[in-house]
């Protein structure tokens, strides 16, 4: 309990050969993907035992349909959680972008998509200005943005957007279309594109370095010259953009914009990032982990469907997994 001890300098362990236990702890702490892949494989095996047909492209496809929007939204959460932030408005941004895209669909797919995405960037930037410049707590800022958007679009749904909620066919194809004999959803391709973008952003750019530095130790980042507000505004803008991408995919899947489009994905998107080993305190995490987290949630969804387990069991399982894995990560980090 002694909080004073947290000020003690880190332990020294480099000058002696590592014990086996310590080196395993370090491996797992540095690469939570190892654990996640094991969990994912175990889940797939269990699901396949319960429902042998699951192990087919068609069976896996259903898991993918569920995992894709979570994975895209969780990309935004991952980026923000690396800065010790969070985006509670991302699902509402997704819904709102879907409305914009649907409204603009008569003007062609390109304009619909561009305006939809642009909306996401603008809404995200507003969050970023609040958090980065006015230092509003990210939880509050994004919560308020979510409320504002919900209010606006609930009102507009019956006025401005009334009768113009149908998505352009191209967006519908992206959302629910498939290729290779109907086995591979186009949305998976979109997710792969998003993944490459996010992975490169985090690992291969100076911006990614700033992101991790800021989240790991804001004071050290400031003293070595990082300008936090710029990093944060861009991070929230990217999160908004990713929210819009997910919104278009969901809108395409349903075929139309709808107020209930994405709200139910908000908590799973945070859960996917947490399961993937991203620390909500910032500085630690990878999008690879988040992808695995989203896939685990996707397979879990299929498993629970096959079991006939209801919402209730699913919720309890979600909660247990989030707390359990986080606890394990924190133990591993402390042990290494």
């Amino acid at each position: 309990m002694n909080e004073i001890s947290s000020t003690a300098p880190p332990e020294e362990a480099t000058d002696e050969p590592l014990s086996i236990k310590l080196s395993i702890a370090r491996q797992l702490s540095d690469r939570p993907q190892i654990v996640l892949i094991a969990v994912l494989v175990a889940l797939i095996v269990v699901t396949a035992i319960i429902e042998p047909n699951y192990l087919s492209l068609a069976g896996l496809r259903n898991s993918a349909f569920f995992a894709v929007p979570i994975g895209v939204l969780a990309a935004g959460q991952t980026i923000l959680m690396l800065t010790a932030g969070i985006d509670l408005s991302i699902a509402m941004i997704a819904t709102a972008s879907a409305y914009i895209a649907a409204n603009q669909s008569p003007n062609g797919a390109a304009i619909a998509i561009i305006l939809g995405l642009l909306f996401g960037i603008v809404a995200g930037t507003a969050n970023g200005i609040g958090v980065g410049i006015f230092r509003v707590n990210p939880l509050i800022m994004t919560l308020a943005t979510s409320g504002i958007l919900l209010g606006l679009f609930t009102g507009w749904a019956t006025t401005i957007f009334a009768g113009s909620t149908r998505m352009h066919d191209f967006i519908i194809t992206l959302g629910r279309g498939t290729f290779l004999d109907g086995n591979v959803p186009w949305s998976v391709v979109v997710w792969i594109g998003v993944s490459i973008f996010v992975l490169l952003l985090l690992r291969r750019t100076g911006y990614g370095r700033n992101l991790y530095a800021l989240g790991d130790n804001p004071i050290a980042a400031r003293l070595s010259g990082t300008r936090a507000w710029q990093v944060l505004v861009v991070a929230y803008a990217i999160s908004g953009l990713l929210g819009a991408v997910a919104g278009l995919l969901m809108g395409g899947r349903i075929g139309a914009a709808d107020l209930q489009l994405a709200g139910f994905l908000l908590l799973p998107s945070v859960a996917a990032a947490v399961i993937g080993g991203t620390s909500i305190f910032g500085g630690v995490g990878t999008y690879t982990g988040t992808i695995l987290g989203a896939l685990i949630l996707g397979v879990l969804q299929s498993l629970l469907t096959f079991l006939g387990a209801g919402q209730a069991v699913q919720q309890v399982l979600y909660g247990t997994i989030v707390v359990g894995l986080s606890w394990m990560y924190s133990r591993l980090a402390a042990a290494s």
């Binding site: 707590n137 509050i140 800022m141 919900l150 209010g151 908590l267 305190f281 209730a312 309890v316």
Partner: protein, 338 residues
């Protein structure tokens, strides 16, 4: 600026201490005045403002107040509890399941048991937060999911019920609709006043502020920080149970499909408006009560104005952002100064 601190010994006010008093309690007074102004204004907006309208506001606001109080206790002690919304759904579903068809006396016994159970359950969440060193926001995100799932297991379909007397306790009427606001007012005032006094005057209550404000200094003053945090979550759990009972009393039946997360978000918004600082150690239950009522009250007022509820939500969101920006900037300047 910000928020009110628990009251200190009353003393004759000189000019200087008057300024200090307004600095310290200005937020609380301001929020109360805002509430009164809104109620008066509302009464002029609608054709008839009487006991029915008044008790509707009080009754409907009860759950918001208790939920916000729960969040406030936890945040003041330096934590955050996203699980409150889920726990509300769980307690009201559990109460609905077991109280259905029971006489008044039994329903009260059940209420006490459920209240204690909620306190223990949420105290356990607090224990996980302190022991695991997993961020509170993650642990309580998990507890939000779990509570919601448990509620669905407890009461898979909308149903259950409670006793007439139980409903009267929270609504002043056996049907949940009536013109008598007094039972609800008492049900709110007594627990909140007791808790506010505990937090403002007693060593154990002030320890919540101490841990939220400066954990190291609290430890040096002899405070056991881990125990205090667990207590804060447990007290929060008890308040949530009260919110759950009120919800059940108004609706008459339990509903486990209610979205707990949006209830949590309401509680967070209410404590922000109530001047509780997210960094911990600052805030007062006395200011959180009117803040929660104002948030609840927004929709009726604006609908009386002919504004639709959606625009009301927009205005509410903008208000919260504005309040937070001002609060953050003032707080930032204050910290820079010292």
């Amino acid at each position: 600026m910000t928020a009110a601190n628990p009251t200190v010994e009353a003393r004759p006010l000189s000019g200087r201490s008057w300024r200090r008093w307004t600095q310290r309690h200005g937020w609380t007074v301001g929020i109360w005045i805002l509430l009164v102004v809104l109620v008066v204004w509302y009464s002029t907006l609608i054709p008839r403002f009487g006991g029915f309208q008044f008790s509707t506001i009080i009754n409907g606001g009860t759950a918001w107040i208790f939920l916000a109080a729960a969040q406030a206790v936890v945040v003041i002690a330096g934590g955050l509890d996203l699980g409150v919304g889920g726990l509300l759904v769980l307690t009201s579903a559990t109460a609905a399941q077991f109280m259905d068809g029971q006489p008044f006396a039994i329903s009260i016994v059940l209420a006490v048991v459920i209240l204690i159970g909620a306190a223990i359950l949420n105290g356990f969440v607090g224990w996980i937060v302190t022991v695991s060193r997993v961020p509170d926001i993650v642990v309580t995100l998990g507890s939000l999911f779990i509570y919601q799932g448990l509620a669905l297991m407890m009461l898979p379909k909308v149903g259950g019920g409670s006793s007439d007397g139980f409903r009267w306790l929270f609504t002043g009427s056996a049907t949940g609709i009536g013109t008598n606001p007094w039972p609800a007012i008492v049900m709110i005032t007594v627990p909140i006043a007791v808790a506010a006094r505990w937090m403002g005057r007693t060593p154990s209550g002030l320890s919540l502020y101490a841990v939220g404000s400066d954990e190291t200094a609290a430890f040096l003053s002899g405070v056991n920080a881990a125990r205090v945090k667990i207590v804060s979550y447990a007290v929060g759990g008890a308040f949530v149970a009260m919110a759950g009972f009120s919800t059940l009393a108004i609706a008459g039946v339990g509903n486990a499909t209610t979205e707990g997360s949006s209830l949590t978000l309401n509680s967070v918004a209410a404590i922000v408006l109530g001047g509780v600082l997210f960094t911990g150690g600052v805030g007062s239950l006395i200011a959180v009560v009117p803040a929660a009522l104002i948030l609840f009250f927004f929709n009726p007022i604006l609908s009386a104005l002919g504004v639709n509820p959606n625009q009301a939500q927009v205005i509410q969101g903008i208000l919260i952002v504005f309040v937070m920006m001002v609060a953050s900037l003032i707080e930032w300047r204050r910290r820079r100064r010292s």
